[in-house]
Amino acid sequence: MNTTHTVFPQPPEWPAEGNSRIPFWAYTRDDLHRKELDRLFYNGHWCYVGLEAEIPQPGDFRRTVIGERSVIMVRDTDGSINVVENLCAHRGLRFCRERHGKRKDFFCPYHQWNYSLKGDLQGVPFRRGVKQDGKDNGGMPKDFKLEDHGLTRLKVATRGGVVFASFDHEVESLEDFLGPTILFYFDRVFNGRKLKVLGYRRQRIPGNWKLMQENIKDPYHPGLLHTWFSTFGLWRADNKSELKMDAHFRHAAMISTRGQGGKNEDVVGGVDSFKEAMQVNDPRLLDIVPEPWWGGPTAVMTTIFPSVIIQQQVNSVSTRHIQPNGHGSFDFVWTHFGFEDDSPEMEQRRLIQANLFGPAGFVSADDGEVIEWSQEGFEQKPAHRSVIEMGGHDIGDTDHMVTETLIRGMYAYWRKVMGE
């Protein structure tokens, strides 16, 4: 009889407690990761690809990613937007190497196959062979049809200047996918005003991609991990707040209104990150000016499963794109933007508040760090599990943030789709 104690799960079973436990093997297995790519990123879901403002003119393109598949978002000659897979129909090359640019058509340099902006194959060299000494050498067979060999074309949906795409042409509408609750918070940011891209930030986080969704479905940590949030009241347990989900519990909005900050013994007593005497030397870092479109809340963090997070934290707005690479790593790409009707002062304010966010941000740098440490723990002891019991065992919307209900909701959905 084998009585050797093991930290490796054999066979892996979901803990009996249900959604208030997450087994570490959910983050460490390559087979599950491939299943996630198939079931979450490549089928049944809309994934974020970019902003219309990134490709304003016909021929403008931007290379981006869905799951681990490289795709190209391009503005067609009629002004519509196409998304095609960056993979030559001939020999499979990821042919588009520039990150962005302007093109009349696409071509793969290897054998010069040429595609329209819709992804249709337009021509292949030597299709009819090459005439030499009065005879035709080679060429494609007579039954070779250009229309059988286009680039993989994705279904595309745009709303409020944001572009989503899906490899799955049977996917429900974007509006149904988001559901009315999340759609309301989506439209709050993307209400038809023209967006202005301010720039990009990229980081490679050595952790499973789901940890980033969980991080932004976890309102328990910000007032604890992040000094700036606890000390200045930007996000903490005594703020007026709400948590809302779609009917499937896959997407969520964390909605909060800034409090006064300062010392509230219940909330910051014994909290290491709280710095009672802290003041900023340069007040511009916290020069927050409420905007009419906020409609009350000072921060709404929206997680759209599986691919993107929409950030509105005071005057800083961004999309944060999740691009997995293997079970233990993902690239996190931040696109900060403003609106074309912003005053120069508002644009400058957004840029300065951006110091709080991103891979070096006063707040967000810590999130990447703790995700890395989580993954290290998971790899060390994959038969173990995390405890997601704050706020109880149930899943539901709340009018406070002292709960991990959104994470439980995400795993209820994940288990259903993944069959785990």
Binding site: R99, V197, L198, G199, Y200, R201, R202, Q203, R204, I205, P206, L225, T227, W228, S273, K275, M278, V280, N281, D282, R284, L285, D331, H336, E347, L351, I352, A354, N355, G358, P359, A360, F362, A365, D366, G368, E369, V370, E372, W373
Partner: protein
């Protein structure tokens, strides 16, 4: 251009800055800047496309001090060593105006990161684009723009580049 004495001072500014960043004496970092000096750390893709967003945009010496407080007191992060290798500065222009002598210069840099249980890896590679002015305390940065090629940040950047 500039005389050798001034160039020698310039070399000292670059090497002293690197030494402070690598020796974890964070309080000394703001002192390389004048009061309205600024420090910007910007990915090359934004810089080359004319997009204004930086990874960090610290618009005054006061804001640079806020960053020092963040590094020392508020940001939870994996401890690491860093080591700057800075190339010889290239003087682009020297002007004498209302504010006195103003040097615009650039230098390539590589920053190597070493975590406590890991190997040394190239962490951030780029160039400094600097505006330097003469003050009674010697040459100081009016602005330091670090344009980095390493657009995919290895998780996070905490310490000054």
């Amino acid at each position: 251009m500039i005389d050798f004495k001034t160039y020698f001072e310039l070399l000292n500014l670059y090497s002293d800055y690197a030494m402070v960043c690598d020796s974890a004496e964070w309080e000394k970092w703001p002192e390389f800047f004048i009061e309205d000096g600024c420090y910007r750390l910007q990915p090359r893709e934004n810089h080359d496309s004319g997009l204004p967003l930086c990874l960090l945009a610290l618009e005054s010496k006061a804001m640079i001090r806020d960053r020092v407080y963040g590094v020392k007191e508020t940001m939870y992060h994996d401890p690491y060593y860093q080591r700057h290798v800075v190339g010889t500065p290239r003087v682009i222009s020297v002007a004498r105006d209302l504010y006195g002598e103003r040097i615009v210069s650039e230098a390539n840099y590589v920053v190597i990161r070493t975590k406590l249980d890991g190997e040394s890896t190239v962490y951030n590679a780029g160039y400094y684009h600097d505006e330097i002015v003469r003050t009674p305390e010697g040459l100081k940065l009016r602005s330091r723009l670090c344009v980095y090629d390493t657009e995919m940040i290895a998780n996070s950047i905490i310490y000054p580049i």
